[in-house]
Assembly symmetry: C2
Homo-oligomer: 218 residues x 2
DNA sequence: AATATAATTTAGGTTACCCAAATTATATTA
DNA sequence: TAATATAATTTGGGTAACCTAAATTATATT
């Protein structure tokens, strides 16, 4: 069965809205994620249900079937592998990869996928620290927490960011924070929950509470 | 101005039908190349003319404008660079690359294109010996000829094949002929124009006249 | 010049997306 | 429970790409 690019994007949207909560998504959330009209969502969800890629009821919303999950994970695998390729081999910055990966993730070729993964050394994580599903859809999970929850004085390693928007990633670049960096939590301000961290080279920077919530450490 | 994937494919078709002859193509030829209905071609050529990518008259057919040529060459550049990448880095055989490159050639990202080219060392030719247009659309041209026109006894180098169909390329593989191989023309049969060539390792094989016309040597 | 053949266009239809506005179903709250 | 807010759906319509069949226009042949 053939899955169109648009359908793949809908599956991704359902996945990203449900995989954490194990729940279901309503039309509205999906419409927002994909910036399409709710009417379009109704139409498409119906089609995806006919194709047995999602289960869908008006009241409870949508969730992926086993088939749908497999398809979604494959797209995500492709997306993250391409991001990795772009950063490691083509000098892309981590804030530049998203748009291009959104296109590359829809290229259909199993050989390409396998060979690309092998070429990259079957990485487990992408340049944002997101886990890359393996061929079977299995993702490694990290025992990590948000920076805001780290103890004062603790030396931690940045392993993932929870926001891949270019603006946020550039902000981190400017602050001098990159994936895999070791940082020390010096203070957490009472009045605004902002976090003072020491970077390598003893440089200290303040991170807003919002930023600290988007930085995962271990 | 935004050029759709379909439009790009039409531009490629016009290019490949006109670039040798400097002439024009009719609807039918394009329809054949793209396996679409001639009526669809009329529609699209009209659109491309509105976009000033081709010049078109009912009687003389279509040719690319300067703009259209630039766009076509960019797509071809992408196609051939991706083919090169697939063969050199991802273990694709030269008969396996076409389908995937047909998809990859439509990815839009100037940075990706530049970086990919640089990553590959700005190659001048792809795995089939076809010249890769540079950023300005310039292609290196080889002073080569078809194998059928080589003199008997001549030692020549295979530099290009004029048919990228998987079936033909596999046939060459089976015969033991690859790009850049040096071969010696031993005989040309009078009765069917088939060519006897000596490969490296002294092995001799007969190539049909049809095959010999598709092999370019220098 | 008349006619046959080939190429192109017209006309009308399909499918896969998308939207805005109106409607209907569900959930919340007075 | 009735009134209201929210969410989902339907209706009606639009675009881009494709198709087939029939009509037209070019071109080639006699």
């Amino acid at each position: 069965m053939m899955i169109s690019i648009t359908e793949e994007n809908y599956l991704k949207a359902v996945f990203s809205a449900t995989h954490l909560s194990e729940g279901r998504v309503g039309n509205q959330i999906i419409a927002e994620k994909l910036t399409v009209n709710p009417a379009s969502v109704t139409e498409m969800l119906r089609k995806l249900q006919d194709k047995k890629l999602i289960e869908y009821t008006r009241t409870d919303g949508a969730k992926l079937t086993k088939e749908g999950l497999k398809a979604a994970l494959k797209v995500i695998r492709k997306h993250r592998l391409w991001e990795t390729f772009l950063v490691i081999h083509l000098n892309f910055k981590w804030d530049e990869v998203h748009e291009v990966a959104e296109q590359l993730e829809h290229i259909q070729s199993d050989k390409l996928l396998d060979e690309l993964a092998a070429f990259l050394g079957n990485p487990g994580f992408d340049p944002h620290g997101d886990p890359i599903p393996d061929k079977n859809g299995k993702m490694q999970n990290m025992k990590c927490k948000i920076l805001s929850d780290a103890a004062i004085g603790q030396k931690v390693k940045v392993v993932k960011v929870n926001d891949n928007a270019a603006s946020f990633l550039k902000y981190l670049d400017k602050q001098g924070i990159a994936l895999a960096d070791k940082i020390i939590v010096k203070e957490i301000q009472d009045f605004d929950q902002s976090v003072l961290v020491e970077l390598k080279g003893k440089k200290e920077v303040y991170l807003s509470a919002a930023a600290a919530k988007k930085i995962m450490v271990e």
